[in-house]
C-alpha cells in the first residue's frame, strides 16, 4: 500500500494531433492515459494507486490546444491544455465571466495554476484522501468505503452518495456548470459536443469501473465552450477552504443572475465541493426568480440551496459543511447585491 515516492516507469507517447492521441488511446486499450499538465496524474502515480496508474502516458501538452478565444456572439472557447493561470488572467474572462475568473484564481496554488490545465481541472480524479493514499477501498480492490466509515469531513458529499461519496473537487467546473458550458469530446468516431453535466454526471461506470467522469478510455476533452453571458447578467464566486493559502473547497458557490431592473429574471446557482458532481441548487434557483436581492431573500435562498442535504452521520460526520455551504451562497449572492 505504500509507494516509494517515485513515478513508476511508464512509456511516453507523444501525438502530434488530437486524432493521433485518440488512436493511441485506442491502440493501448485501458493501459494508456492522457496527461496534460500532469499535476493530478503524476500525484496519483507517485502514491502508487494501482488502478489509476497507466503503463503508457499520452502527453498532449504539445498539441495546439492552448488558447482562449472570446467572441460576443459565439461566446468563450478554451482549449483543453490552456493553463488555469491563463484563464485566471484573461481580460475577457474577467470582464464577461467574473465567476470563472474568480473561480480560476482560487484553484490550487500559483505554481499549480501555471501547470494544471482547463480540461484537467474538469476531469481530475477525486481527492478522497483514502483513495489517493491507496487505501484498499472498494474502488481500489477492497470492499469498504473508508470515506463513509472514517474521517469524512473534507472530501465526502453532504448530498448523499451513489456509488461513491467522494466529491468533485474542481473549482472551474462549478463555474462552467453555472454558465451552462458544453465540452467537445474527441473519440474514435470524431468530436461530440455535450453539456458539461453529461461529462460530469456525478459518477459513471466505464469499462466496469467507477469513474468521476463519463469519458471512455479512448476519449479526450479538446475544448470547453461557454455561451455568451446573457444581457443584464452578473456573476460571482465564493469558496470556503480550511486554510486561505491553497486548498480544496469545503464548499463553494457559483452564481449567475440575470436582472430585469432589480428583479431577478433568471438564476443559476451551483454548489461545489459538496456533491459527487457540481450541485445545481434548483430550489434556490426557482425561489430567486422574481425576487430582488435583499438580506432576507439572500438568507432564504441560502436555506433553499441546501435543500435535500443528507450529510454523513457515520465516521466523523460532515454536517458542518451544510452551514458552510449556506455561508458560501450568502457571500456569493451578497457580492451581487
Amino acid at each position: 500500500m505504500s509507494s516509494n515516492n517515485e513515478v513508476p516507469k511508464f512509456g511516453l507517447l507523444v501525438p502530434s494531433t488530437t486524432e493521433q492521441a485518440v488512436s493511441l488511446l485506442t491502440q493501448y486499450g485501458g493501459q494508456a492515459k492522457i496527461m496534460s499538465g500532469g499535476t493530478d496524474l503524476l500525484y496519483t502515480m507517485k502514491n502508487g494507486v494501482k488502478y489509476k496508474t497507466p503503463e503508457y502516458v499520452v502527453d498532449i501538452s504539445g498539441l495546439p490546444l492552448n488558447y482562449i478565444n472570446y467572441d460576443a456572439t459565439d461566446g468563450l472557447r478554451i482549449g483543453a491544455t490552456t493553463p488555469i493561470a491563463s484563464i485566471a488572467s484573461d481580460p475577457n474572462i474577467a470582464q464577461y465571466y467574473p465567476v470563472l475568473n474568480q473561480a480560476a484564481n482560487t484553484v490550487a496554488a500559483p505554481q499549480l495554476r501555471n501547470q494544471g490545465t482547463a480540461a484537467g481541472d474538469v476531469i481530475q480524479d477525486t481527492w478522497c484522501w483514502y483513495l489517493r493514499n491507496n487505501y484498499p477501498c472498494w474502488q481500489n480492490g477492497g470492499n469498504v468505503c473508508f470515506g463513509v466509515l472514517g474521517d469524512n469531513r473534507y472530501y465526502q458529499s453532504i448530498f448523499g452518495g451513489r456509488l461513491t461519496y467522494a466529491v468533485n473537487p474542481g473549482d472551474t467546473p462549478v463555474a462552467y456548470f453555472a454558465l451552462n458550458a458544453d465540452v467537445a469530446v474527441q473519440g474514435p468516431g470524431g468530436t461530440t459536443n455535450m453539456p458539461i453535466s453529461q461529462l460530469l454526471p456525478g459518477e459513471a461506470i466505464v469499462d466496469g469501473k467507477v469513474k468521476e467522469n463519463s469519458l471512455q478510455h479512448n476519449e479526450m476533452v479538446t475544448e470547453i465552450h461557454v455561451p455568451p453571458p446573457p444581457a443584464n447578467s452578473k456573476s460571482s464566486w465564493y469558496k470556503v477552504r480550511a486554510r486561505q493559502s491553497f486548498d480544496f473547497a469545503l464548499a463553494s458557490a457559483a452564481v449567475v443572475l440575470t436582472f430585469n431592473g432589480s428583479t431577478i429574471s433568471h438564476a443559476s446557482l451551483v454548489l461545489g465541493g459538496v456533491d459527487v458532481a457540481p450541485h445545481r441548487a434548483t430550489a434556490a434557483e426557482s425561489y430567486l426568480v422574481g425576487q430582488s436581492l435583499t438580506p432576507s431573500t439572500i438568507q432564504e435562498a441560502a436555506v433553499k440551496a441546501v435543500e435535500g442535504a443528507a450529510p454523513l452521520t457515520t465516521g466523523t460526520g460532515n454536517s458542518f459543511r451544510v452551514f458552510l455551504t449556506q455561508g458560501a451562497v450568502t457571500k456569493a449572492l451578497t457580492l451581487l447585491s
Partner: protein, 212 residues
C-alpha cells in the same frame, strides 16, 4: 528502505565506474557558461521513437549553463536537478506539489519541479536557487532574506526564495495582498510568514533603490 537515496547513490557510483558514459541519469557534461542552447527540434520527443520507455539524452539550460543528461520519461525535473546533476539547493519536501518547497522558475514562471516531467523542460530556461550569480533579482531576494531574517528551518526556504523571485520579476513593487497571493503556494511549517513577507518587501525596496 530509502529507495531514493539508493537510486541516487547507484547512479553516482555508476557514473564513476563507467567513466561517464551516455546512460540514463548520468550527467554527460556541463557546459562552461554557455547560455545558448542547441535549438531543440521539439520540446517533447516524437512518437517515432521505437521504445516509449527508452532513456533519452536531453539538454537542459539551468542557471545559464547547459547540461546534457539522460532521463527516463518518469524522471521529474526535481529528480534530475537534485539527483543526477547534484544541484541540491532545490528541495523535495513533499514530492506531491502540495508545499511549494521544490519551486524553480521555468522561463521566469514558477513551477513545482517535483511534479514537472524533466523532458518537458527542454528548450526552456530553468532558474534554481543556485542561480544567484546570473540573476540579479534572485540575488537581491537572497540578500534581503539574510538581512530580514526570513529563513528559519530552511525546509521551505529555497522554494520561497524562488516564488518571491518570480513575483518581483513580474511585479517589482507588489502590495501586501499581492505578495500573499503570489506566495500562497509555498507553505512554511515554522510559520515564519511575517519574516518572509518582510524579506520580499526589503528585496523590492533594494531593487528599486538600486535601479533608480
Amino acid at each position: 528502505m530509502d529507495t531514493k537515496m539508493n537510486r541516487r547513490k547507484f547512479l553516482k557510483a555508476s557514473a564513476i565506474s563507467a567513466g561517464v558514459v551516455g546512460l540514463g541519469g548520468i550527467a554527460l557534461s556541463a557546459g562552461n557558461n554557455s547560455t545558448v542552447l542547441e535549438p531543440p527540434t521539439q520540446t517533447v520527443p516524437s512518437t517515432s521513437n521505437a521504445d516509449p520507455f527508452a532513456l533519452q539524452s536531453i539538454t537542459l539550460n539551468i542557471n545559464g549553463q547547459s547540461y546534457q543528461v539522460g532521463v527516463e520519461p518518469r524522471d521529474m525535473l526535481n529528480n534530475v536537478i537534485r539527483d543526477y546533476l547534484g544541484l541540491i539547493g532545490t528541495k523535495r519536501p513533499c514530492n506531491r506539489g502540495e508545499c511549494g518547497g521544490c519551486t524553480v522558475l521555468i522561463d521566469d514562471v514558477p513551477h513545482m519541479s517535483c511534479t514537472y516531467p524533466a523532458y518537458r523542460a527542454v528548450g526552456h530556461a530553468i532558474l534554481t536557487v543556485e542561480g544567484y550569480n546570473v540573476d540579479p533579482v534572485l540575488n537581491a531576494v537572497q540578500q534581503a532574506w539574510v538581512q530580514a531574517d526570513s529563513g528559519q528551518c530552511s525546509g521551505c526556504q529555497e522554494g520561497q526564495v524562488m516564488a518571491a523571485t518570480a513575483l518581483l520579476k513580474s511585479n517589482p513593487n507588489p502590495s501586501l495582498d499581492e505578495i500573499k497571493f503570489a506566495m500562497s503556494g509555498n507553505i512554511c511549517r515554522c510559520g515564519n510568514y511575517a519574516g518572509i513577507i518582510a524579506g520580499i518587501q526589503l528585496a523590492a525596496q533594494n531593487l528599486q533603490g538600486g535601479s533608480a
